[in-house]
Symmetry: C2
Subunit: 237 residues, 2 copies
């Protein structure tokens, strides 16, 4: 399985193109609408077939490219079953796996940043969305966020993966590309092994962050896959 990291500087969002080299089938994790032109060009140049777009959660800081990519490349929009994203084609939940060529992508429920976060596990790499960032994590103060639940997700779901599992986050604001589970266990200042649940809840309660700049456009738009139009008939994987 091949991985190509892509970055949107405006929202500091990472997208990830993941593909099976033998069949050329690909999935794009967390596509950003303003980068769709770049991403389609890359998909074409690499001679890939975009089978899925996979969301880690309903984003508040950028508009998803999933709907536009479906229109242009006929890809399948995949979201968590609790995400209220009625425009999607397929709903998934923790424990499911997504077939991609001769490989599979494992779905892990990691709620807490929102009520319906997913991490995707592929071949020794985990795409953690905003559940686990490099030396940080997503905020828990809106979109049904819940600090206790996020602590549990990271500690019981992500920190039980092998230590050398590569962590590919949904964002980074300091120019870092990735981490490993072992690094985050040792050095994450919020969720590292030296932090208790009470420590974490206390940290998250005192962040005093301003709302994301684009939340009022991004949330309703993302519940429509970033495009206007009718709801689709949702199936299960």
């Amino acid at each position: 399985m091949q991985i190509r990291q892509l970055f949107d500087p405006e929202s500091s969002t990472f997208s990830y193109l993941v593909w099976d080299n033998s069949t050329r089938e690909a999935a794009l994790i967390d596509p950003v609408q303003s980068q769709v032109h770049r991403d389609i060009q890359l998909i074409r140049e690499l001679r890939l077939i975009l089978k899925y777009t996979l969301e880690t959660h309903v984003h508040a800081d950028h508009v998803t490219g999933s709907g536009v990519l479906r229109q242009k490349l006929n890809s399948i929009v995949v979201v968590h079953e609790d995400s209220q994203t009625k425009c999607a084609d397929v709903q998934i939940k923790g424990g499911d796996f997504i077939p991609l060529g001769t490989k599979r992508i494992n779905v892990i429920n990691t709620p807490g940043h929102t009520n319906s976060d997913i991490s995707y596990l592929v071949n020794g790499a985990v795409f953690t969305g905003d559940s686990l960032l490099i030396r940080g994590c997503g905020r828990t103060d809106f979109q049904s966020g819940n600090a206790s639940l996020l602590y549990q997700s990271v500690r019981q779901q992500l920190f039980t993966l092998p230590g050398d599992t590569l962590v590919y986050p949904g964002h980074d604001y300091k120019g870092r590309c990735c981490s490993t589970i072992a690094e985050e266990m040792a050095h994450n200042p919020r969720l590292g092994l030296d932090k208790s649940l009470d420590d974490f809840v206390d940290i998250m309660s005192n962040l005093k962050l301003a709302p994301p700049k684009h939340i009022h456009e991004a949330l309703p738009s993302n519940l429509r896959c970033g495009v206007s139009g009718k709801d689709t008939a949702i199936t299960r994987l």
Copy 2:
């Protein structure tokens, strides 16, 4: 050999931390001075010994972190022998190799963006500085740049590497992380296989780019490794 990509958003510069997992010896390719604090923290968290800083060329768009890293971590400043960087500890040239733990880094001369560009080849990945960018290349209109020479460097040195060699460039301005030799041979709009030397020279002669914003500070500063002080005694590897 492990690779960690790092980004400086102000100058869109990539640095690369490369290390041998068995000995923990590391090299930092193209460190950026304004990111030295971040980089030292990462080096310490990963329990690495920074043995070298490796420059791909004398940069015009940012100040190197090599001198500060030498002061703080006792690393060896490595540059090309033709770079006029008198503050360096070690001079190298194409054909040399740099031992790193149980591995080695191969040095390839790829001049043309400046008169003394180096690419570093490590375990199926090549760090190309500004000689080869993703779907582009560095400019050739100052610092002894020479479009014909750059064409020759890319075609004869880089495009003769295996097609699946990962290309890690010195910059990207569109949120892309890396490429492969095969991709650039097929899709680089300046240097792809469909472009002749005359095509390339013509393209490079007509870019009409403004000078880099920080060239007047960066160039003289980088010839002093980004710090003031006496020249060091230069040795050969």
